[in-house]
Symmetry: C2
Subunit: 535 residues, 2 copies
């Protein structure tokens, strides 16, 4: 866990006149300006330089003179090398930095850090929906799986009818969600990488928040046939229509079935099939379960320089609490951890886990290379405006979401979670693709940190949004669930916000509180990761 120190002594509240700088490690030769509105030239930093430039909020200032070619250190590591002499007090932005190459994937330390086990955290519970397969839902949702985009319009029509006509009669069901996606016959389904979108869709259908009530709408002629999407044995259906011990029969509404005469008969089939599932879902009740049943996906988006100082360290502290409580936590976003690979392989519990991580990084390096890109394609104009000079700096701030626990598992994109503890779930950094893959892994609660601000939400799982800055939390007061900006303001510690988040998770998981995204019903699309070509 980084330990923020300020060049100006302890944080004092961040007024415009009192300069507030945050340095992550004592060895850093830059610090970021925390003051709202930044700091003007001429400002004297107590114990440091006089500013030569205006430094925007979240941007870096050189604390000492940095010679051309010397490393610029943040988080104790070189985030770049000076392209020319940088006098103390200068604004250090991306145009003054030569980004280092990505570290090679050979000779990495593997499972070399074996920290003392974190003390168990016992006695925390939430109210969840226990499923037949042992998983626990935080919401009670009927999800309608689709094999192909062709059926999306009709399914949407049917879902509107189900919500208007049926859902009010099943008050213990939270929602009806259409699992629409852009996957169609066009995907080269036998291409080696097509396994990724296929298993993603399969595993999303089995997300704990859907209670095992799998229902599929199929067109009929699509490449991704229902039996290929959900082969026998993949669905454990607890259904009174199934004889005991018999192989479960997948519930499929096929639009091209001869029995369908006209549009409304197709809608009628979907509505009728939905009702059986709604009846069973409606009979379920929340029960007290240990916090170890949480499956939390952590992610960041619209990051700024505060992400790695406030929100992400608070999430990292909370990650440790969750791991101590026996829960499952996934961190992801391959291009945002690539530059920290040595830290991560060191923290792996075994060399095998480290090797799995290296395998995912190597696959992604090759995937990007085929398209003429590399990890540097990650950073956005907003990241840079927010003070993040390059992907190295962004990655250092992103990784801290993973806390300090040993990394005990690795998932390839679209795979289902295999064990509790801290897992690296390899995904692209794109918010929607990462969220979709974490849903597939079995996430039942989502934590999302943001510095620039995003209204991100998912229909299937509650998303708790954490603001990195107080100004954002105030302005987006009805979109941000937690304000980690208090850490930069000096009014709360990382531990305070980590515990606040932990308690909020238990409340949201229990349905006692809704997130703002749930309140407004803000849902982003499922976006599949398809590294295979389309035809």
């Amino acid at each position: 866990m980084p330990d923020p120190v300020t060049a100006s002594g302890a944080p004092t509240g961040g007024t415009a006149v009192s300069p507030l700088l945050i340095r992550m490690q004592a060895s850093d030769n830059v610090a970021i300006v925390a003051n709202d509105g930044g700091l003007p030239p001429g400002t004297a930093i107590p114990g440091g330089p006089v500013l030569l430039d205006r430094i925007p909020q979240g941007h870096k200032v050189a604390l000492v003179a940095i010679a051309a070619g010397a490393p610029v250190l943040r988080y104790g590591i070189p985030i770049g090398h000076a392209l020319k002499d940088i006098p103390a007090g200068t604004w250090v932005h991306e145009r003054l930095l030569q980004m280092p190459d990505a570290r090679g994937l050979d000779g990495l330390p593997k499972a070399t850090v074996q920290p003392a086990p974190l003390p168990p955290l016992e006695g925390y519970t939430f109210e969840g929906y226990r499923n037949a397969d042992g998983s626990v839902g935080t919401r009670n949702i009927l999800a309608i799986t689709q094999t192909v985009q062709c059926v999306a319009g009709i399914t949407d029509f049917a879902v509107r009818r189900i919500k208007a006509e049926l859902l009010p009669r099943y008050p213990h069901v939270d929602d009806v969600v259409s699992l629409e996606h852009g996957y169609g016959c066009g995907v080269a389904i036998d291409a080696p990488d097509a396994v990724v979108p296929i298993r993603t869709l399969r595993h999303i259908s089995l997300n704990p928040n859907f209670g095992g009530e799998v229902m599929v709408v199929s067109l009929g002629c699509e490449k991704l046939q229902p039996q290929r999407l959900l082969p026998p044995g993949s669905v454990a259906i607890a259904d009174e229509r199934q004889p005991a011990g018999a192989d479960a029969v997948l519930d499929v509404v096929c639009l091209q079935d001869d029995a369908h005469v006209g549009f409304l008969s197709m809608v009628e089939s979907i509505v009728r099939q939905a009702e059986g599932h709604l009846r069973r879902l409606n009979a379920r009740r929340r029960e007290t379960v240990p916090a170890s049943e949480l499956v939390v996906g952590v992610q960041c988006g619209g990051s700024d320089a505060f992400s790695g100082v406030t929100a992400n360290p608070a999430v990292g502290f909370c990650t440790d609490l969750l791991v101590r409580a026996g829960a499952s936590v996934m961190f992801s976003e391959t291009t945002e951890v690539r530059d920290g690979i040595a830290q991560l392989t060191s923290r792996a519990t075994t060399p095998d886990v480290a090797d799995a991580m290296i395998r995912e990084m190597a696959w992604y390096d090759a995937y990007l290379g085929r398209g003429g890109a590399d990890r540097s394609a990650n950073t956005t104009p907003g990241n840079k405006r927010g003070g993040l000079s390059n992907i190295v700096e962004k990655a250092m701030g992103s990784i801290v979401k993973s806390g300090t626990a040993p990394i005990s598992n690795v998932l390839a994109p679209g795979e289902k979670l295999r064990a509790k503890g801290l897992t690296y779930a390899a995904t692209p950094a794109s918010d929607f693709i990462c969220g979709t893959l974490q849903l597939a892994a079995g996430m039942n609660l989502h934590v999302f940190t943001t510095g620039r601000g995003t209204p991100y939400g998912l229909a299937a799982v509650p998303v708790i949004k954490v603001a990195t800055r107080t100004e954002l939390a105030r302005r987006w007061h009805d979109l941000m669930d937690v304000n980690a900006g208090t850490i930069a303001d000096g009014t709360a510690t990382i531990e305070d916000v980590g515990w606040e988040l932990f308690h909020l998770m238990l409340d949201v998981a229990s349905g006692r509180r809704k997130t703002w995204a749930e309140h407004w019903k803000l849902h982003n699309a499922l976006v599949l990761f398809n590294p295979a070509p389309v035809t």
Copy 2:
């Protein structure tokens, strides 16, 4: 235009007892069974063999004995070579065929066919919305462009308010459409192939059905900044707020703008900006324009063996009518025309046009090859059940949609149409990706043929759906707009159905008739073609 002949003489109506076979060319050694329900073994084909197998409807029968290794001829070309001796009367399915390799792209005939010009077709008009840039809309729609998936939830919320509160006051506006897409910051925006999704989104915003009223919702920190999506000069804005002669200012609602305090203020901004556009759109009226203003995208999906016999030839006849009337027609679906490349390069108006077509095919071959796939990944289980053995056979039936006119232009994926006449718009065959790219090219009317059946629709442009079989047209009576199955039944000719479609196009374009997809408001998603990697 293929000229169907029947092995049993003139079609007589297709009862179960009178065998009805369709052979496309006199040289073909197979024909397809047109009878509903197929034909049983023992059926004697007048002037042909006695059937040895049950032949399902739409499937092929060997008219003569075909020796192992000999070509199986349909559409006058080898769709495969017999894997063993095939006696006359045998069901010829994909397991008896060795698919030929794709023809190489060297040494192709270029602009070698110079048919006599088609006679002009004059005097046909429709009622359309004339735009400032000279294009003509068939609908009057407010489209809300989005730079990134992040804003989709809020935009959707705002669009529901606009439809409920504002739209009833602007009765000349047909609809408000959110141009949601899965593109986000995750895309490697500087990768060479990222130009495809970027220009696709740009050009969709400029579709003629949106009347030049471009309005953008942006998050603020995204890679695809509004000015990158729609650079100065790309939008011809006729707006009373703009001083005459000044550079048009793009209308952008940016959610991260400091002025936005809280969720509802963002919604309010979108609704307020929308109202100005609605007011101007509402002042527009349809006017009589020549049929040459139609920009028609033709496509097929859920194809069967009848696609190439009934619906696609009728569309091809109509394509010729449209070209004769001076209109624009696009055909697409690279993997479905790849096997007919020699026909197409021959039909190019100039060697340059032929070279452009070859360039697109070569690009796509390489793209598929990088992902370990080739054109054979196109055919679906439904195609095969419908009688299409492989992509060669499917391609021959697909290409006939393009009629007989010279091919005068070629578009790369996402490009905007440059000229009237017949254009090959290179796209993947995936229905949604193809439709999205044809929208970007400037399509104002869409024709979609289907044999297995699909409820396909688009929010931005009317989609006329043509059934290949009477049985489908009857059963899906409120989803199919035209029945081309009458051609196989013998109750109509290709010309009859082609003219029916042409007249229906003018009615639908004029707003006098709605398609079934419009009636039910069935809309599939926009799905971008993104050959670049995501990060």
